[in-house]
């Protein structure tokens, strides 16, 4: 009977999940997309700033800023619409989800308007034609001089969900295509010979080649259909009025050949970025990342403990309904990956209530942690012999008095170390929030990779920083643990 209740509740949880996602697919009947932007006074651009010269991060006066050709285009659009421009950063493969769930109004991220994408997204006119290159290690330049035909039976890297990925799949027989979320990671894979070549757009390939002496850009010679040769701006499906307005700006840009000037501006920023590539020069990035990682972990652990205690009490209590809810919650949360939960809170719940990425990240990590904390507390309480409760009850203490005066003070000694471990693993696991653009340590690591064109050094720095955080914390917790054991 109990089991049936659990199954039913777990099913309800999943149902809520599915329903709220389905909700995201509703299409507005009347097209008021342009009016809405004007009423709002801002237009939100989604982009994956790891794609110089299209978009990349620069550090100006200690602050991260997205720059590049796409940003210049977006600025022009915003000024023509008479609204402010806001930029949201996330991984490339999250962009279309963000568009669908209205986290962003438009996606400008070096994106090609392929027919497959056009099914779910309205595209503007093409504003830039770059072409498709392959990026290889300089030593191998001769082998791949012929472009795609030389890639047969090789390992090709491309951004997940990108046109380049599709091209490698469809036009290079026998090749193994490896997809990664960020171009920086792809470059790293190339340099460490995990892949033989990386498919990217021409301007990006050239940017990397000119900043890294060990790389060479080669024309990919792919057969490109319409919509595969250039980049366009993506909009929520059915935003005809907005697309038309934006197209006017794009036509103007094309007519005046402004992209050339944009690329020059981008080039200047890139040059500034690569002047000093020592890790110490980027300490502010890492410091900010550490700060966010600690902030997320600390708030999430408090949330986890508060909800966890409630869940544990529900699970230990006699009320069958509350018990069932607690068990279903714990099983469901522990049975699904944190990454999926993060995406669900940000994109899924975000459909109903707009929540910033940082808040969404904290909520997801906190909820995830609460299920584990509940189990830690429950097993801590269960580990106290039943004789302790009986002794307390036989002395006339009520259930609650026995719990708070006798059981909990003892249980806390078992709970504390496990809770400490949970906090430590939270610091590590919270790194997953970087996928929705929360600027934690992992995110900053990628930013520094992009900015410096150096792959491994930032990873090493982040690793050391994570270790310093967890090691310090475990020492501090160990100190308190020792103190507590000493007392009793």
């Amino acid at each position: 009977m109990k089991k049936v209740l659990h199954v039913v509740l777990a099913f309800l949880f999943s149902l809520v999940t599915v329903l709220s996602l389905a909700n995201a697919h509703q299409v507005n009947a009347a097209d008021d997309s342009l009016q809405k932007i004007k009423d709002k006074g801002t237009i939100v651009m989604g982009t994956s700033p790891d794609y110089a010269p299209y978009e990349f991060l620069v550090n100006v006066g200690g602050k991260n800023r997205v720059e590049g050709m796409d940003v210049e285009v977006a600025k022009q659009i915003a000024s023509d619409l008479g609204v402010k421009l806001k930029i949201k950063q996330m991984d490339f493969d999250q962009l279309l989800v963000a568009l669908e769930t209205k986290k962003v109004d438009m996606v400008i991220s070096g994106m090609s308007p392929t027919p497959a994408r056009a099914k779910n997204v309205d595209f503007s006119h093409i504003y830039y034609k770059g072409g498709q290159d392959i990026l290889v290690n300089k030593a191998d330049a001769k082998i791949y001089a012929k472009g795609k035909d030389a890639l047969r039976n090789k390992n090709i890297g491309a951004q997940t969900g990108s046109l380049q990925y599709e091209l490698a799949k469809k036009q290079v027989p026998g090749a193994t295509v490896k997809g990664l979320g960020k171009v920086t990671d792809l470059i790293l894979a190339l340099k460490s010979h995990k892949v033989d070549a990386v498919n990217v757009e021409k301007p990006v390939a050239e940017a990397y080649a000119s900043n890294d002496k060990t790389l060479t850009a080669i024309d990919g010679r792919y057969n490109l259909g319409s919509g595969e040769t250039g980049t366009a701006i993506g909009f929520h499906k059915g935003s005809t009025t907005l697309v038309n307005a934006v197209n006017k700006t794009l036509d103007k840009i094309k007519k005046q050949n402004k992209t050339k000037a944009y690329l020059e501006t981008a080039g200047k920023y890139m040059a500034g970025n690569t002047q000093n590539t020592t890790m110490i020069h980027y300490w502010k990035y890492f410091a900010l990342g550490v700060g966010y990682t600690l902030l997320i972990s600390a708030i999430a652990v408090v949330m986890g403990v508060v909800i966890g205690v409630i869940l544990a009490l529900m699970r230990l209590g006699k009320n069958k309904v509350l018990h069932g809810i607690a068990v279903a919650y714990i099983e469901f949360i522990r049975g699904t990956p944190l990454m999926v939960q993060v995406m669900f809170v940000y994109f899924g719940i975000g459909v109903l209530v707009q929540i910033p990425a940082l808040t969404a990240g904290i909520i997801a990590v906190g909820i995830n942690s609460s299920a584990y904390v509940a189990e830690i507390i429950r097993s801590g309480i269960d580990s106290i012999p039943v004789g302790q409760t009986e002794a307390a009850r036989s002395l006339g203490m009520s259930k609650n008095q026995a719990m708070s005066n006798v059981v909990l003070p003892q249980a806390i000694k078992n709970i504390w170390p496990a809770l400490g471990n949970e906090f430590i693993s939270l610091i590590k696991e919270s790194s997953i929030v970087s996928i929705i653009g929360v600027t934690d340590l992992i995110y900053q690591l990628k930013v520094v990779q992009t900015a410096t064109y150096r792959g491994i050094a930032p990873i090493a720095v982040a690793m050391v920083l994570y270790f310093v955080m967890t090691f310090t914390l475990s020492r501090v917790l160990g100190h308190f643990e020792g103190k507590m054991n000493h007392e009793g």
Binding site: A391, A392, R393, S394, L395, G396, Q401, G488
Partner: protein, 248 residues
């Protein structure tokens, strides 16, 4: 005569699932009585004792304590009644994270609202009674089993109970420590405390009990004075049990 009845037990049964542990017990306990319950393991002795203060609620029947039926009492009232029914466990169940003194003062302060000084004074008095005042600041883990059990008795007495229930208080002790605990219990009996003691210590039963109850198969098979039970048992089951126990 009725005023003298402390516990009136009526048709108490207890089942765990399909397993009937108590099959219908009706007895009375008068104020000042010392009852010793004997019987083989698995005969329901502990369950019977625990059903008296409703630590394990009877499946059916009634337990009238000073005129109130505990079985039908709401939980909150039951807590108040339990104060008056001290219990000593086989495994002592002292609170390991508290000193001896704090073990004793916890319930008087939390349940009775006694202030710290009064509770401490009372605790020291009781510790003297069980001969352990010098251990007031020790933690239970540093005490021997016999000492722990004496502290447990003091802890129960701190609530000034009207009856003391002992659930095999010496079974977990090394043989050389049994005596010190029985001595404390004997003194307690002399002081006029009503006691129900589940034990395998036949010597204690003979010496201290007003009545001995022999339990088997979830029932009280035979009861009477120690002399009756040990010298002239009538039931075969009683004889059989005693022959096994006394042989040793």
């Amino acid at each position: 005569m009725k005023d003298n009845v402390l516990l009136d037990i009526k048709d108490v049964t207890k089942s765990f699932g399909k397993n009937k542990v108590l099959t219908g017990i009706s007895e009375t306990v008068n104020k000042g009585d010392v009852i010793v319950v004997i019987g083989a393991s698995g005969g329901g002795k502990s369950t019977f004792l625990r059903s008296l203060n409703c630590l394990s609620k009877p499946t059916s029947g009634h337990v009238y304590f000073e005129g109130t039926d505990l079985v039908t009492l709401p939980d909150k009232k039951l807590d108040e009644v339990r104060e008056k029914m001290g219990m000593v466990f086989q495994s002592f169940n002292l609170f390991p994270n508290k000193t001896v003194l704090d073990n004793i003062t916890l319930a008087p302060m939390k349940v009775k609202g006694m202030d710290q000084n009064a509770a401490n004074e009372k605790a020291h008095e009781l510790l003297k009674q069980v001969g352990l005042d010098e251990k007031a600041d020790a933690y239970p883990s540093s005490l021997s089993g016999g000492q722990q059990q004496r502290v447990a008795i003091a802890r129960a007495l701190a609530m000034e109970p009207d009856v003391m229930l002992f659930d095999e208080p010496t079974s977990a002790l090394d043989p050389e420590m049994v005596g010190e605990v029985l001595k404390v219990m004997q003194d307690l009996a002399k002081s006029g405390m009503t006691m129900i003691v589940v034990t395998h210590e036949m010597g204690f039963a003979r010496k201290v009990a007003d009545q001995v109850w022999f339990m088997d198969g979830g029932q009280i098979v035979e009861k009477g004075t120690p002399e009756h039970i040990f010298e002239h048992p009538e039931q075969d089951r009683t004889k059989d049990f005693l022959s096994k126990v006394l042989e040793q």
